[in-house]
């Protein structure tokens, strides 16, 4: 059931709801914290589960949502919502996806089958966010160069998805801002 996204219009400052999703450990919470203008609302708790304990350096996980806000230029106020990554919190994906204007899927290239993971989230959010308002950000490409950006484009294209795919370091404000800029400019082009 597609949910109506807010219309885009030039002129006064407008709110846009943007959802960050992707597998656990891809950096959704970090990205929102990196870019938000104010203090971020988080719902992270200590990890207790078996496989999830094996991620190096990761001790906390989001179980509800993250929420932050940032301005982009004079025109946009972005309301940033981060989802939990794990499948058991899928019900939160539908709650947070409802009414979203755009979607950012973060990938962790150090994990097995990162392209397949991205496809899984693209499919899960397809009922809520149009494919033309989706951007993929790939993290840890510096330490794990394969699959590369071209591989992502080819493999996602073969599945019928053609989002822009960019390298991102979610700890860097500028990188996250670039993802959001691409997303918003896609929307602006759409309405020209």
């Amino acid at each position: 059931m597609p949910s109506p996204a807010p219309a885009v219009s030039a002129g006064t400052s407008r709110d846009l709801k943007i959802v960050f999703t992707g597998p656990m450990g891809a950096g959704k919470t970090t990205a929102i914290r990196a870019i938000s203008d104010n203090e971020v609302l988080s719902t992270d708790v200590p990890i207790t589960g078996g496989a999830e304990l094996s991620m190096p350096g990761k001790t906390m996980t989001t179980v509800g949502l993250d929420y932050g806000e940032c301005r982009l230029g004079d025109q946009w106020v972005l309301k940033l919502f981060g989802t939990p990554g794990q499948e058991r919190f899928r019900f939160m994906w539908d709650i947070l996806g409802a009414g979203a204007f755009g979607l950012i899927v973060l990938a962790d290239n150090s994990q097995p089958d990162p392209v397949g993971e991205v496809a899984r989230y693209l499919k899960a959010f397809a009922p809520h966010v149009p494919a033309r308002r989706t951007v993929v950000g790939v993290g840890r490409l510096d330490t794990h160069p394969s699959p590369g950006i071209v591989d992502y484009c080819e493999q996602l294209g073969a599945l019928g998805y053609n989002p822009p795919v960019l390298e991102v370091d979610v700890r860097r404000d500028a990188d996250v801002r670039l993802l959001l800029s691409v997303l918003v400019s896609m929307a602006e082009i759409e309405h020209e």
Binding site: V45, T48, F89
Partner: protein, 155 residues
């Protein structure tokens, strides 16, 4: 005893710091809660990150879904009271025409657990809250009484 809970069918890998014998005790406490309180349809203990620790639900998938939602709601409730400048929430009560759902945090040494009880319309809220509080205290006592792996020699 050195069995790994995570590899044991029927138990989630949650609370790897909890021994099987403790989890069996917790399951018994949940059963007593359900049998001793009118209107309770199910009682489930989850880890704060949404894994089932023990439940009276026979369908483990039902228990796992309820556990994940309990983890989310508990964290959201905590975020909301923080935002309002309140202290940590003691319990979350959902009321509908079909009954109550009560969720409360249970702090144990291995990390917070969340006790969630679902009732039908015959439950009495006061009695329900008293019973849940009582069970939560017993859960804490059971987790404290059983030596945690690594903290004492195995028997």
């Amino acid at each position: 005893m050195s069995s790994s809970i995570g590899s044991t069918p029927g138990f989630s890998s949650a609370g790897t710091a909890l021994r099987l014998v403790t989890i069996a005790q917790l399951a018994e406490l949940l059963g007593e809660l359900q049998r001793g309180t009118p209107g309770i349809l199910s009682a489930t203990l989850a880890s704060a990150d949404g894994f089932t620790v023990a439940s009276t639900l026979s369908d483990s998938q039902d228990a796992d879904r309820l556990s994940a939602m309990s983890g989310s709601l508990s964290a959201l409730a905590g975020a909301m009271t923080r935002e309002a400048g309140h202290s940590a929430p003691e319990r979350l009560i959902l009321e509908s025409g079909s009954g109550h759902i009560v969720s409360m945090n249970v702090p144990v040494p291995s990390g917070d657990l969340v006790l969630t009880v679902v009732t039908n319309e015959s439950s009495l809220l006061g009695k329900l809250l008293w019973s849940c509080r009582n069970t939560a205290d017993q859960v804490v006592a059971a987790c404290v009484a059983t030596p945690q792996p690594g903290s004492a020699p195995s028997l």
